[in-house]
Amino acid sequence: MKIIDLKKEIGQFHLQVDYLELEEGCIHGFIGGNGSGKTTLLKLIMGILSPDSGSIDYNGLNMKEITMTSQRPYLLHDSVYENIIYPLKIRGIRPEPGEIAEYLENCGMEGKERQAARSLSSGEQQKVSMIRALCFHPRLIMIDETLSNLDPDSVDFFEKQILKIQEREKNTWILISHRLSEIARICDRVHVFHKGKVVESGPAGEVLFHSEVPEVQRFLKGELLIEKEVDRRRIR
């Protein structure tokens, strides 16, 4: 999938991506400060926003095979179960028996199928939206900080799940996260955003540890410092 000369202006903010290739069958990580354009690019790929100019070459990917989850996902005014099976329902697919119950159990939500989705905590709501996105096997899954509020066990479960599904289905993933450890654990390729531009793009190891772009170095340093700070406090 290729993004060519894409421009989008929202108020004072300008997103400009001259060229970005998102290889299929990879897990991509988008990192960068707040307001650097990560989410905007996801929305453009999703078709929620339309670009001022430029284009996205989906390389034959059908829009119905793309999904996106956000930090504050939209949940239907219905039960957890109905929320999760919605994408299956509109495709006329029956859920595999036990699959959803198993998912819920694995992330500590066993027996909550019939509960009102909107009465859940924000972390649980994120879990529901994650399960919903995983269940219908899209070819491109974009996860916009959806794991941010989850407990460590659940984060671990979903990370493993992502790796497992990717291994099996060879589909493409884009992950936005501020937790660099998470990016490092599961992403194949990393793209760094800064003030509406992609300043660095490449294999995860290279970008995270050997980048020579000054903005990337500064950003990574800052993020790592915060993580180290947190770690040190936790240890004490």
Binding site: M46, I48, M63, D78, P87, I90, A116
Partner: protein, 228 residues
């Protein structure tokens, strides 16, 4: 049977038929207005076009239009020498339904537009991430707004059942044909029979209440997921 009992209780103003006409008129006009109001309300939310703000303002104004003005306009349109005179709608229940629809549609449209403005963009975005088609998206918007829409319908129905000015003008309060509960009350009042008028008013309220209960009963199943 029921007819005899009811007509026994009240003076000879045709109360039984008035009840029948009231509900026939209110239910039909609410149904038509619901269809028109939802379509126009959602269309107004969905599409932008030049003059949209003006349309919205006119819609809001019409939400509070005095029914008697609508009644007068419909009267002038449908009278024998009016532009729609050949349709013979004046002094018929059909004419009353027409007037009521003009009164209620803007109410439902305005409420659906307002709620839709709040809900629909979010649902539309969500539907896109789920890969829903256009029809599926619109159905989902309706489903997600069902409580608001229900409230809009109830408001419209309440307005319809309680209205007197327009139905008096357009219907003509003809006994057994176009007399409604409200115009019957107005007639009883003009005859100085206040207690019966009041009784009929209470009856009207009770029937509206029962209808609400019935609607709530059918809604109950979905309600258990609403504790947010």
């Amino acid at each position: 049977m029921l007819k005899t009992i009811i007509n026994e209780i009240f003076s000879d103003v045709g109360v039984y038929d008035a009840i029948r006409v009231t509900f026939q008129m209110a239910l039909t006009s609410t149904f038509i207005s619901t269809v028109l109001g939802i379509i126009s309300g959602l269309a107004l939310e969905r599409f932008s076009f030049p003059g949209k703000r003006l349309v919205i303002r006119i819609n809001r104004t019409l939400m509070g239009v005095p029914p008697v003005v609508v009644g007068l306009i419909v009267y002038m349109l449908t009278m024998r020498r009016g532009p729609l005179g050949s349709l013979e709608l004046l002094f018929t229940v059909k004419g009353m339904i027409l007037a009521q629809t003009i009164i209620i549609t803007p109410i439902i449209c305005g409420m659906v537009y307002t709620y839709g403005n709040k809900t629909a963009p979010e649902v539309r975005t969500f539907a896109k991430t789920m890969g829903a088609g256009r029809l599926q998206t619109n159905l989902l918007i309706l489903k997600e707004m069902k409580h608001e829409i229900y409230f809009a319908i109830v408001s419209g129905f309440g307005r319809s059942i309680s209205e007197v000015g327009a139905v008096m003008l357009v219907g003509g309060n003809i006994k057994g044909h176009t007399r409604t509960m409200t115009t019957a009350i107005s007639l009883l009042k003009s005859q100085g029979i206040f207690t019966e008028g009041l009784t009929l008013g209470v009856l009207l309220l009770i029937m509206a209440f029962l209808l609400q209960c019935l609607a709530d009963f059918f809604r109950k199943e979905s309600k258990e997921y609403e504790n947010y």
